[in-house]
């Protein structure tokens, strides 16, 4: 419903010629980066993994930007408008511990194994079948999610600038295609860093102006309390967010459902994220990548959740909606409504560029990770092994084109769904939760066999699909959000259970093949990293940085208990 409504209500921003010039300038730079990055590409590894040459600040910001796509931006301002402060759980407990865990515990295995992708790591730890199962499901998920990104981008172009969907979707795909085709992962990552800054240039002035309009933080609190939303001003127990009425169970749901299964599943196994760290230039830089990303991640809700809350008290259509009245907008419109409400021309152009940047960041991350998995895991390791590297570089480029064309197709599939956020959540519970289960089991249990890898994966995915069907058909009477928590947990539990049983009846891999892939069999020195040259200095210690960001998160929680 929300989607159709976008077009009817007057959301058209009052964009001036100057705003358009600012947006165009951004696009010129984005394409320019593609051309420049092209000069540095001579092998498939350059194209698909940036030749493992990037510094930690670049991969770290790309890591956070790849996640800061438009669905995130629009979805989380919507949550801010609807639920208020409890939305921060998605950023804090739902992200920071997992990101630090990835950097400190898991990265030594990922980066140290020299695997070029998550499926390749699975082949080393388990077997070829596990690699293929994961590669195919990942490729499918990437194309579907790229389509969601593209569709949402088309919607924004249509609603804000008045372009038709049929025109906006192919144009957006063409821009992403041009720079990833030319520059591969380097161009995607460089643009993600640029996008990170432009997105902040959208969010920070929006928050400042919004706060000025409502009389600062105190004024905002006052206005929210006036309309009876005082539970929106503290993060715990978050009963509105989880839709679990019992406070204790709600906290439990947030800590285990969101904070453990969903969050660890997403951050530690999602190749679109992990790939950014794999392209770092050293083990130390790779370990710091997710931890550096955790700092902006912890602070970003200040400029995403707060504008959402402001929109809910400032924009008349949203206050009506919130009071339970009839309104022709949904919470998904919160971001663009607030932009139109508080931003003057000029900064509005920067904001539109930022919004477009966010969409492209999401889609480029999907396309560039699809490239790598398809080229290495499906084509090189399975269908056409043993060709020269130039051949695989050409395959990589061809997959970029095919991926973008397919995304145009899946964009129109995504358009047939009523609620995009539910669609995405289901996809994550299908693919990420079972993957995390077998990953963590395989990392700490050396007996776990190769067959257990793929059977656990398939069993977990099936469990999540069953839960999804039960929720959709109403057999399991819970909200879509709680359904995603349950689905992910079921996938995790079934994945572990089936993998354990299968391990008991199959032969383990020889221990010699598991060195560097299983915790107990990996000597401590190869789990650590060099601390000389560009990796020297206390401020480059992953453990210290990890401790700092955890402390920061605790302090932030204390501010909004």
């Amino acid at each position: 419903m929300g989607i159709m409504v976008l077009a009817q209500t007057d959301l058209r921003l009052d964009v001036s010629a100057l705003d358009y010039v600012l947006v165009m300038f951004y696009f010129v730079l984005v394409l320019g980066i593609g051309f420049i990055a092209r000069r540095s590409i001579s092998s498939s590894l350059d194209f698909l993994l940036s030749g493992r040459s990037l510094p930690a600040w670049v991969t770290g910001l790309a890591f956070v930007a790849a996640n800061l796509g438009a669905i995130e931006l629009i979805g989380m301002t919507a949550n801010g408008a609807q639920y208020g402060i409890p939305t921060v759980h998605y950023y804090w407990i739902g992200a920071i511990p997992a990101m630090v865990f990835l950097g400190i515990v898991m990265m030594p295995f990922y980066y140290g194994s020299k695997a070029r992708s998550v499926p390749e790591f699975l082949r080393m730890r388990f077997n070829t079948t596990t690699q293929r199962v994961n590669a195919v499901s990942f490729a499918l998920a990437s194309v579907l999610i790229a389509g969601v990104n593209l569709f949402s981008l088309g919607l924004v172009l249509e609603a804000l600038l008045g372009w038709s969907l049929q025109l906006a979707i192919p144009i957006a795909a063409l821009v992403v295609l041009s720079y990833t085709f030319l520059g591969g992962l380097s161009a995607a990552i460089y643009n993600e860093v640029l996008q990170f800054f432009v997105i902040l240039a959208l969010l920070i002035p929006l928050t400042v102006a919004g706060l000025a309009r409502v009389g600062g933080w105190n004024g905002l609190q006052q206005r929210i309390t006036e309309v009876g939303g005082s539970e929106e001003l503290s993060s715990w127990p978050g009963t509105t967010l989880t839709e679990i009425p019992n406070a204790f169970l709600s906290v439990l749901g947030i800590v285990f459902g969101l904070g453990f299964v969903l969050s660890f599943g997403y951050w530690t196994t999602n190749f679109a994220e992990v790939q950014r760290a794999l392209s770092a230039k050293s083990m130390s830089a790779a370990r710091r990548t997710p931890i550096i990303a955790a700092f902006p991640k912890a602070l970003i809700p200040l400029v995403i959740v707060i504008p959402g809350m402001i929109a809910a008290v400032l924009v008349p259509q949203l206050t009506t909606l919130k009071a339970g009245g009839e309104s022709d907008v949904t919470y998904n419109n919160a971001l663009s409504l607030l932009m139109g409400e508080v931003l003057p021309n000029g900064i509005l152009g920067v904001a539109v560029a930022g919004l477009l940047a966010a969409f492209m960041a999401g889609m480029a991350a999907n396309v560039s990770s699809l490239n790598t998995v398809f080229t290495y895991d499906i084509w090189q390791d399975w269908i056409r092994p043993g060709r020269e590297d130039a051949y695989y570089l050409r395959v990589g480029r061809a997959v970029t084109v095919a991926g973008c064309v397919l995304a145009i197709g899946t964009a129109f599939i995504a358009g047939s769904y009523q609620n995009l956020m539910d669609y995405i959540q289901s996809l994550f519970s299908f693919f990420n939760a079972p993957l995390f289960a077998i990953f963590i089991l395989g990392l700490f249990w050396k007996r776990m066999s190769g067959t257990a890898g793929w059977t656990g994966l398939v069993a977990g995915t099936l469990a999540a699909i069953v839960v999804d069907v039960l929720v959709r058909t109403g057999v399991l009477a819970v909200s879509a959000q709680a359904g995603a928590f349950i689905g992910a947990s079921a996938a995790f539990v079934f994945g572990i259970a089936v993998a354990s049983v299968v391990t008991m009846v199959t032969a383990p891999k020889p221990e010699a093949e598991l060195v560097g892939l299983v915790w107990q069999l990996t000597p401590k020195e190869s789990r650590s990293h060099e601390t000389t040259g560009e990796d020297a200095g206390w401020y480059r210690s992953p453990a210290l940085l990890g401790g700092m960001v955890i402390a920061l998160t605790v302090v932030l929680y204390l501010l909004v208990p």
Binding site: K114, A209, L211, G346, E388
Partner: protein, 91 residues
């Protein structure tokens, strides 16, 4: 000389500086010269274009300074990297 100038131009930090420099300049000028009462009302009395413009110029200056203090390292004529496997050594 030529190679290092090119490398400096194409350094990501310079690209960020260029984007924020141009945006900052446009917004600062617009904020200083073209802010009407309607714009001020919208942003709750904050000179939003002006302040954003100045902040962006500061960010651009920061990146220029960083490039200037730590010039980009020109990649050595890349090592014979045609190991067919194309997986780098590393540690």
């Amino acid at each position: 000389m030529k190679a290092s100038t090119l490398a400096a131009l194409f350094d990501l930090r310079s690209v960020i500086a260029l984007l924020f420099g141009v945006y900052g300049l446009v917004l600062t000028l617009l904020g200083a010269l073209g802010t009407g009462p309607a714009d001020l009302d919208k942003a709750g009395g904050v000179h939003l274009n002006l302040w954003t413009g100045i902040a962006m110029l500061a960010v651009a200056a920061g990146f220029v300074l960083w490039v200037w203090l730590r010039p980009p390292v020109v990649a050595a004529p890349s090592e014979p990297s045609d190991d067919t496997d194309a997986r780098p050594g590393g540690h």
